[in-house]
């Protein structure tokens, strides 16, 4: 938000709406993509993955790697298939009638679709945070403890809940009201609770589907800080329609358009020297 305000007063280059990513790129706290991640192979990999709703092709032959301990952002205009692609990575699309998938999805090299890989087990290892905060209508404690409890967690639940809430930067705000309803929290707190709930499962990958789109700028900034810290421990795939956010947070960015993956590159490259004209048009604000 702050960067947008400054953009408005800055002199605009001709033919663009003045979206400038240099500042967003400079605010990054961690240096992008180091060699270590590249050697271990991607945690999630799609190979020519297509997803259909009935006869409508929402995602077309996308091949994309989500490397270990990096934030991979997926950007693109509304309806480009970015959420559908993300929701394929933990098989969340299974619950929608008439969804068909072709191509391959690999999780740590293992085939996910059309194999014996149990979707419930997949979701234990691939957590998800949704667009709108969706806490259970239960207490704060139970929200975090629910997943581990139903999965037969044997350790100390109270410790796990505290640790997860600390990692989600929410502990200090809720430690005295763990038994109060989660619905009493503010939107931003609810979203951090949902992140804590996902972290409590100790997943390897966190999928985030526009996690800030329902939040105000201050809550958004807090979630962004959080994602920035989480990427040292987790592999994150982040869908966002906010290009500033992608530039600030991600190591790699994928640009999608009408179901196709147009371009994927290190974030610093994609926003400064895109190879494809469509990417160039989108990030300079000619459409979308």
């Amino acid at each position: 938000m702050a960067t947008e305000a400054q953009d408005l007063v800055a002199p605009l280059p001709p033919n663009t709406r003045g979206l400038d990513f240099t500042q967003a790129l400079q605010t990054r706290s961690v240096a992008p993509a180091t060699a270590s991640a590249a050697t271990s192979g991607p945690v999630v990999r799609t190979e020519r993955l297509s997803i259909y709703y009935g006869n409508f092709c929402a995602v077309r032959e996308v091949t994309l790697d989500v490397p270990l301990c990096q934030v991979t952002a997926i950007i693109g205009p509304s309806g480009c298939g970015k959420s559908t692609l993300l929701r394929a990575m933990n098989r969340m699309n299974d619950f929608i009638d008439g969804v068909r998938v072709s191509g391959r999805l690999l999780f740590n090299g293992q085939e996910v679709y059309g194999s014996v890989f149990d979707p419930v087990e997949l979701r234990r290892r691939v957590g998800m945070v949704f667009q709108k905060p969706n806490p259970f209508p239960k207490s704060i404690f139970k929200n975090v403890a629910w997943g581990p409890a139903v999965n037969g967690y044997r350790g100390n639940l109270a410790e796990l809940v505290e640790e997860s809430l600390r990692k989600a930067a929410l502990w200090e705000e809720v430690k005295d009201k763990l038994n109060k309803s989660a619905l009493a929290l503010s939107g931003g707190q609810q979203q951090r609770l949902c992140i804590a709930r996902a972290i409590a499962m100790q997943p390897e990958v966190l999928l985030m589907d526009e996690p800030c789109s329902a939040l105000d700028p201050i809550a958004t900034a807090r979630i962004e800080d959080l994602i920035d810290r989480l990427k040292t421990q987790y592999t994150v795939a982040l869908v966002t329609h906010n290009m500033q956010q992608a530039a600030r947070l991600s190591d790699r960015t994928a640009f999608m358009l009408m179901g196709e993956l147009v371009e994927v590159d290190a974030t610093s490259h994609l926003f400064t020297t895109p190879r494809d004209q469509r990417t160039q048009d989108y990030i300079t604000g000619r459409f979308g």
Binding site: F130, N134, K138, A198
Partner: protein, 317 residues
């Protein structure tokens, strides 16, 4: 431009008389229809009020003879036999036995059916399954009574417990239970589907199975809707008459044994209405006392159900 304007105005002048008449006719018709529809609506309201009035008016002579206290706490009900006694508890016990037993049958089946329809069944099955279930609610209740008397008692209950009487509370409870399954499953299905999809997704996203999400997120989330469904079904079970007359018998008895013949509040009203009890006697007025009791119970259950349902509607808004 000019010619069109003058044409319209001359048309208006020429048609002025008939147009006004037509408009007046239309207005009158609207008013008549308004009155007619209002009258239709008033019929049902007036009927309800009249029933309540008659119930109270006719039970006054009864309660003048028999004190309400003796009526509500007496344990013998023999208004038609000597020595006469007017304690309603045996009838109440009969009603509670049948309605409670019916809930024991209907709640597990109804709630499970609703969970299956809303969480497990594929779309096409749900679409034919629900109307099919609702056909159950359309079967005449006398058929259920006959089914209890000719099948459930001899073929099931007597095989398991040979001492079962021909008329018994258990068979009545079972068929009334079957009868109210559609009420429960249909309302629960609506309640389950009102639980936002995002909550289910949250459950699946932390590796919940279908069973865990259904029973630990959807069911608790819809609990007040489930409660309301159960209460509405209970009101129906309490008021059920024909099946209970046929299956449970006409023996007012203060018992909790479901294998004995009993009598419910409704069955007693049938007994007196069909018999040759002369009007304006104390025996005749008993049915209004019993009817008022029945009315009070079902009204209370319905009011509680409405309150619970209202609370439920506020949860996700």
């Amino acid at each position: 431009m000019n010619s069109t304007a003058s044409a319209t105005s001359s048309l208006r002048v020429a048609a002025g008389g008939t147009a006004n008449l037509a408009r007046a006719l239309r207005r009158t018709r609207e008013a008549l229809i308004h009155v007619f529809l209002l009258a239709c609506a008033l019929v049902s309201i007036a009927t309800t009020l009249a029933i309540v009035f008659v119930l109270i008016d006719q039970s006054i002579p009864f309660f003048r003879e028999i004190s309400p206290w003796a009526f509500l706490t007496g344990t013998r009900w023999t208004p038609l036999l000597e020595p006469r006694s007017y304690g309603v508890l045996p009838l109440l016990a009969g009603t509670v036995l049948v309605a409670g037993g019916a809930l024991l049958v209907a709640v597990p089946i109804g709630v499970s059916t609703a969970l299956y329809l809303s969480e497990y069944a594929p779309g096409w099955l749900r679409q034919i399954g629900k109307p099919f279930l609702e056909i159950l609610a359309g079967v005449p209740t006398v058929v259920y009574g006959y089914f209890a008397l000719s099948f459930i008692t001899p073929e099931i209950l007597r095989r398991c417990w040979p001492q079962t009487e021909v008329f018994n509370g258990a068979s009545a409870a079972i068929v009334v239970g079957i009868m109210i399954v559609p009420t429960i499953s249909s309302l629960c299905d609506d309640a389950f589907r009102a639980v936002p999809r995002s909550l289910r997704e949250a459950g699946y996203a932390v590796s919940g199975t279908k069973l865990e999400v259904s029973t630990r997120i959807v069911l608790p989330g819809a609990m007040s809707g489930v409660m309301a469904a159960v209460l509405l079904a209970l009101a129906r079970a309490i008021g059920e008459t024909m099946a209970v007359v046929l299956a449970a018998g006409m023996t007012p008895k203060l018992t909790l044994n479901p294998l004995e013949s009993i009598q419910t509040l409704t069955a007693y009203i049938v007994q007196v209405s069909l018999g040759d009890t002369p009007a304006d006697t104390i025996e005749y007025h008993t049915i209004f006392g019993v009817g008022l009791t029945l009315f009070a119970i079902t009204l209370a259950v319905n009011l509680v159900a409405q309150r619970v349902l209202k609370r439920f509607h506020e949860v996700y808004e």
